[in-house]
């Protein structure tokens, strides 16, 4: 079996999508000639030409707005916003235009666009190149938000995102790009909105997504050595999130921890905790715990960032607090 990196899985997914559907075009800063800051789009310009792999000037708002116009014009644009922090510059196009258009125009037309971006710390990129802002977008009716954790999901969920008739934010974690693994050939379609049981367990449910899934897996491994069986649920899609799967797991384990790299306050975990407290109250044998980054900007220094990003140890701490 050939090993592939996470970034290459996304590259292959883009490549296969471009090959099968001529309405797909890529736009972004340094994606064509330079092949992308993290080499995710490398080689695509040579294969598909400058009419489909379009280098854009540093103008995020215009790039996102143009994607809306392209989508209305029968194309399926996949744009790259180099760092999730730069999404702040696309907010009008995404939030006021793309997200609302289908609804606001009474069901006329749709905006089948994908915004690829990457979040997360781990490379000391500092406060303006490391943020996990997915909860902002999950809060906007009309947007979908996907955060893959595995190579297979990076490939297959991107296919589904591209084929989705709605604007989809596809969030990659920069720390995962060099991760090696085996990309399954001929993957079946993976619908958005369905969680994956990454590890089955019976004592506690740890819900996570993106790179934090690996911290959750490490936590589960350590807990197993103490005789605690943790189920790790990888959400894969943050909006819509798989309420049914979380509830089913909670109904089995009766304890719930939600872990993500984003700031804990007002985050994805808060939404899941609130819903489960409401519909799963009778299933709970302990308090729902959240694990997220502290309420501070992502710090630069190695010594600071390493403590800032939630660890397996913090997830274990949270599991213990569920009265397991």
């Amino acid at each position: 079996m050939n090993e592939t990196r996470f970034a290459q899985a996304i590259n292959r997914s883009l490549d296969d999508a471009l090959a099968r559907d001529s309405s797909i075009v890529l736009l972004g800063e340094d994606i064509a000639n330079a092949g992308g800051t993290f080499a995710v789009t490398r080689g695509l310009l040579d294969k598909y030409g400058a009419d489909r792999i379009i280098d854009m000037p540093i103008a995020e708002n215009a790039i996102a707005g143009m994607a809306v116009g392209l989508a209305l014009g029968g194309f399926k644009p996949v744009i790259e916003i180099m760092f999730m922090d730069f999404m702040t510059l696309t907010m009008d196009a995404l939030v006021n235009q793309a997200a609302k258009l289908h609804f606001m125009f009474g069901g006329q037309g749709s905006v089948p666009m994908v915004v690829r971006t990457q979040h997360g710390g781990g490379i000391n990129a500092g406060p303006q190149h490391s943020q996990c802002l997915e909860a902002w977008f999950a809060h906007i009716p009309g947007l979908k938000v996907v955060v893959p954790a595995t190579l297979d999901d990076a490939y297959a969920l991107l296919q589904s995102a591209i084929d989705d008739p709605n604007p989809v934010l596809f969030v990659e974690n920069k720390a995962l790009y060099p991760m090696k693994g085996v990309l399954t050939d001929d993957l079946p379609p993976t619908p958005l909105g369905k969680a994956r049981i990454a590890r089955a367990g019976s004592d506690v449910t740890i819900v996570s997504y993106g790179a934090m899934v690996y911290q959750a897996m490490e936590a589960a491994e350590q807990l197993a050595s103490e005789g605690i069986s943790a189920e790790v649920l990888d959400l894969r899609t943050v909006q819509p999130w798989d309420e049914e799967a979380v509830f089913a797991s909670l109904s089995k384990t009766h304890r719930l921890v939600i872990a993500h790299e984003a700031v804990e306050a007002f985050g994805v975990g808060a939404e899941i905790a609130a819903r489960m407290a409401q519909i799963g109250f009778d299933e709970l044998d302990g308090p729902i715990m959240r694990v997220g980054a502290p309420f501070m900007p992502v710090p630069f220094a190695r010594a600071l960032e390493v403590d800032y990003i939630p660890s397996a140890a913090r997830i274990i701490e949270a599991v213990r607090a569920t009265d397991v």
Partner: protein, 330 residues
């Protein structure tokens, strides 16, 4: 009633319809908006509405050169654009009143009225919000290999928005067939534009290397004549152009605006009055014009009455269309 595009009214040799037809289209917009103003004052139209009285010649004159497959992105002052591009008057009034059978099922209203079937990509509640959408639409035309184009309407107030500058640069950089049409009424909402920007659009276009043209936006023939030339240029060269029309905002920024900030005392320049006196000069009988105006008024009354009888939308239906359904083409 539809303000039809050239193709559908069978203009063959002329580059744009004759003045009488342009006048008819302007009267339709004016009369429709007169009703909007009255219905807003009476509480029949909720929300915010921004009337385009004084700017009808730009809507009608520009649209006279567009085809059904050309697209436009509009502004908050978009009634004229929408009607001139072909939005049906029934769907228009029903939308402004928030009815279930409005153009947008009552979810957009005046500021978001759209009809994608005629290439009208929406009025827009965000100043400059439609500019990059038009740019993308123009790129779509180019990538598709058609000779269609996208027109982006914006006011002089939008010139202070970064997106206009980003879009001008990209349009020229990527040679995108998009026509930037600035309706310069001198007002940035409640402030004179002279207090808002330090440049002219002409100099800005020159900085980006984009061809720039201007004309009196109150003379519908001049608008149509210039636009016909420029549209031809954009179709042939597949690159952008900028058009600027001097217009008058006869009404306030929005209906209900007391306009205490306004001290322009000169009587407003009215494109309809200009066209009407030109028609009379050319020997069109005043009675004939009056009969046409009456006919338009009664047609609009009919549309208003029909809209009044339409039903209200329900939240249950609206929530079904927050997302387009996967696997179903919208």
């Amino acid at each position: 009633m539809n303000l039809e595009t050239n193709e559908s009214i069978g203009i063959s040799n002329a580059r744009y319809p004759e003045l009488l037809e342009l006048y008819r289209r302007m009267v339709t917009i004016r009369e429709a908006e007169k009703n909007c103003g009255a219905m807003f004052a009476a509480g029949e139209i909720p929300g915010f509405i921004h009337l385009s009285d004084g700017q009808e010649a730009v809507s009608v004159g520009v649209m006279a050169s567009l085809r059904a497959d050309d697209t436009i992105a509009s502004t908050h002052r978009g009634h004229g654009h929408a009607l001139a591009k072909g939005l049906h008057i029934d769907a228009f009034f029903r939308e402004l009143m928030g009815k279930a059978d409005g153009a947008c099922k009552g979810r957009g209203g005046s500021m978001h009225v759209a009809d994608l079937s005629v290439g009208m990509l929406g009025a827009n509640g965000i100043v400059g919000g439609g500019v990059a959408i038009a740019l993308g639409s123009g790129l779509a035309q180019k990538l598709r290999g058609s000779d269609g184009l996208a027109v982006c309407f914006f006011g002089d107030g939008a010139l202070a928005e970064g997106i206009v500058h980003e879009s001008l640069n990209i349009a020229q950089l990527k040679t995108i067939p998009v026509l930037f049409v600035c309706e310069n009424n001198g007002w940035s909402e409640f402030s004179p534009t002279s207090t808002q920007i330090t440049f002219t659009l002409e100099r800005l276009a020159a900085a980006y290397g984009i061809p720039y043209y201007n004309a009196d936006g109150s003379d519908v023939e001049k608008v149509a004549e210039l636009t016909a030339d420029v549209v031809e240029h954009v179709r042939r060269h597949r690159g952008p152009a900028v058009l600027e029309f001097a217009t008058t905002r006869i009404r306030g920024h929005y209906e209900g605006d007391s306009q205490r900030y306004r001290n322009d005392t000169a009587p407003p320049v009215d494109p309809l009055a200009i066209a009407r006196s030109l028609l009379e000069e050319r020997g069109i009988d005043a009675n004939e014009l009056a009969a046409m105006e009456t006919e338009i008024q009664s047609e609009i009354q009919r549309a208003v009455e029909a809209a009044r009888l339409s039903t209200d939308p329900t939240l249950e239906t609206a929530i079904q269309e927050v997302y387009a359904i996967v696997g179903v083409a919208a």
